[in-house]
């Protein structure tokens, strides 16, 4: 890595990373395209209903969706179109894939981002109170929570949450994105969506919360025993001041890193959780698309998720550089 300092170096680094990402994304597209195209079964069968369809109709549908062409030909066309920003046309939804993705994207992002915020905040808090008195009951509780939280499958947790909070107690809706019967607007609409989001968010954030708790605690403990904290103690600063001012800042680094690098997992998790709760986001679109063999949509999602992971990794690296002046590019 070039030993340039300052924002200029960072920008150059980011640019180089982005250029490097191009063959990566291309690879993702090609591999997935070929994989799906080589899968057994005729995708046209998913498009023609249950009853024997007239042969001409089947052929027309095949032509309409370009399925009569050879795989390399289709791949080439797809790549050309993607380069132009056209992700193709959804078989099952009969609308452009990009429109479909953008339409669903907002809901997934709302769910994912609020999960990240909640999980990071709670996790950070738990990590700090655990690290304050290592070995205490609080510490053991937080550590135990982190261990179990990391092992619980989110789809099972989702079902248990539905069972307890929607069925048994009736406090929260069991699924969906908003109330259908009443047309809320403005604030009430947001509140209504929030009520629908609570359970999926809880199911999704558990694991993330666990990771953050564990990491915060670990890096805090490491920092707390380091030289400059010992020195700070020597200067007579109170333990709380040390913890919140010095230690937490130093510990933020690995935590940010982990949030960034686990982004791929949270995407997978949201697919599961969206399915359990019927949250109409990207994850559920993916699940539906598998069963309708809607491969333009599947490819679009794979492309989109891969690119997101690349970009988030890049941002995380940049954060790392800003937070830790020792890192040079």
């Amino acid at each position: 890595m070039a030993a340039e300092g300052g924002g200029n170096g960072l920008a150059l680094y980011a640019l180089r990373r982005l250029i490097n990402a191009v063959p990566l994304v291309l690879g993702v597209v090609v591999v997935n395209f070929v994989l799906i195209a080589l899968a057994p079964g005729d995708p046209v069968m998913s498009l023609i209903g249950e009853y024997p369809a007239p042969a001409e109709y089947v052929e027309r549908v095949r032509q309409d969706f370009g399925l009569d062409k050879s795989v390399p030909e289709r791949l080439w066309l797809y790549l050309v179109n993607v380069a132009k920003g056209d992700l193709g046309f959804s078989f099952a939804n009969r609308q452009p894939v990009l429109d479909l993705l953008l339409q669903r994207l907002g809901r997934t992002l709302v769910l994912m981002l609020s999960t990240v915020v909640v999980a990071s905040t709670v996790g950070l808090f738990l990590g700090v109170i655990a690290a304050r008195k290592p070995g205490s009951v609080t510490d053991r509780g937080a550590t135990g929570f982190a261990l179990v939280g990391y092992a619980v499958p989110e789809f099972w947790l989702g079902q248990i949450l539905i069972l307890v909070f929607a069925v048994l107690l009736g406090w929260l809706p069991a699924g969906g994105f908003r109330s259908v019967r009443v047309e809320y607007t403005g604030m009430a609409a947001s509140l209504d969506m929030f009520r629908h989001m609570l359970l999926p968010m809880a199911a999704l954030s558990f694991r993330y919360m666990a990771i953050t708790t564990r990491l915060t605690r670990a890096s805090l403990l490491e920092v707390m025993s380091s030289q400059y904290i010992v020195a700070a103690r020597g200067r007579g600063l109170s333990e709380n001041t040390i913890l919140w001012r010095h230690a937490l800042r130093a510990a933020a680094l690995p935590v940010v890193t982990v949030i960034g690098y686990n982004f791929g997992f949270i995407v997978a998790g949201s697919a599961l959780v969206e399915t359990v709760f019927g949250w109409p986001g990207i994850g559920r679109l993916m699940y539906d698309s598998i069963y309708t063999r809607d491969y333009p949509v599947l490819l679009g999602i794979l492309l989109f998720v891969s690119m997101t992971v690349i970009v988030v990794n890049l941002i995380t690296d940049a954060f790392y550089a800003v937070l830790d002046p020792r890192v040079r590019y």
Binding site: L35, L147, V148, V152, Q159, R214, L215, L221, G264
Partner: protein, 289 residues
């Protein structure tokens, strides 16, 4: 002679590591869970009171009813027996997929780290590719379209899980290849592959085992997730598959959902804690991670 000293050091490392492992209470607890899981899986035919596939007209029997400790499912199958047999699939897929991932990871990492140069560059690009690719989405597509037999599941999960191991092994090799004992081996005219896999590998194995153990936990989770989506092998009883069925009946038969969920959680917890113990054993600095 230094070449002879290196493997010996590996062995004494191992016994020192075991001593440190025993001191880690979470590691020991994890090991206990893993051993328990293994015992249950191996002894399933003896432990299970019923054949897990045997259906009957007595469906939805609650726990403790008519000789069914954990009740029966929608087809009258004994839930306890299914949970017991389900441990086999989880363990088998977990171990085999992690082994596959470790094998690929070690090969790629060793070659990249030791040989370096453009070869390293190429392998790391491929590794990066597998890191960026959405693992769950891809596994879902492959299993949905190409079939969900046990071998398919293992291969898919294994092939999608190796990048972390590869990166780790690569960094191990980068630091080891300049150490004196490796130089000595080279001076003695040892072949590259001998140095890579007979000399360096035993010394780099500790951290690899840690990752492998965590990989087992991840593979168990991934298998369960696929099973939950109805993409497990229906010819075998698996926890994920049980949860898939249970989902439909959650309000009628909570026991169908609760127990397999515990199974997954405990298995994943076991391998995670075991991995923690290994971390402590091989790299005490990383201990409370």
């Amino acid at each position: 002679m230094e070449t002879a000293a290196a493997p010996a050091a590996g062995r004494s490392n191992a016994s020192a590591a075991w001593r440190r492992f025993r001191r880690s209470s979470s590691g020991v607890f994890g090991l206990a869970l893993v051993v328990l899981l293994t015992l249950v899986a191996v002894l399933a035919p003896v432990l299970a009171p019923y054949d897990p596939h045997t259906t009957s007209r007595a469906a939805f029997m609650p726990p403790l009813a008519a000789g069914h400790v954990l009740g029966t499912d929608n087809l009258g199958r004994d839930v306890l027996s299914q949970v017991i047999w389900g441990s086999r699939v989880s363990l088998m897929v977990g171990l085999a997929a992690a082994a596959t991932a470790t094998l690929i990871g070690v090969l790629v990492g060793a070659l990249a780290g030791y040989l370096g140069g453009w070869f390293d560059e190429l392998l790391m690009r491929i590794t990066e590719f597998f890191q960026v690719i959405p693992r769950f989405v891809l596994a879902l597509i492959v299993v949905a379209f190409f079939g969900s037999g046990l071998v398919n599941l293992i291969l898919v999960i294994g092939v999608l899980s190796w990048p972390q191991t590869a990166r780790l092994v690569r960094s191990q090799y980068l630091s080891h290849k300049t150490l004196p004992y490796v130089d000595a081996g080279r001076a003695l005219g040892m072949r590259k592959f001998r140095i890579m896999f007979m000399q360096i590998l035993p010394n780099a194995m500790g951290p690899v085992l840690v990752v492998a153990s965590l990989d087992v936990a991840q593979a168990i989770l991934l298998e369960a997730s696929l099973g939950f989506f109805g993409l497990g092998d229906p010819n075998l009883t698996s926890w994920g598959g049980m949860l898939n069925t249970a989902q439909t009946f959650i309000r009628r038969a909570w026991w169908m959902s609760v127990f397999p969920g515990f199974g997954i959680t405990l298995a994943v917890l076991g391998f995670n804690l075991f991995g923690d113990g290994l971390t402590e054993a091989y790299d005490p600095r990383m201990a409370p991670r």
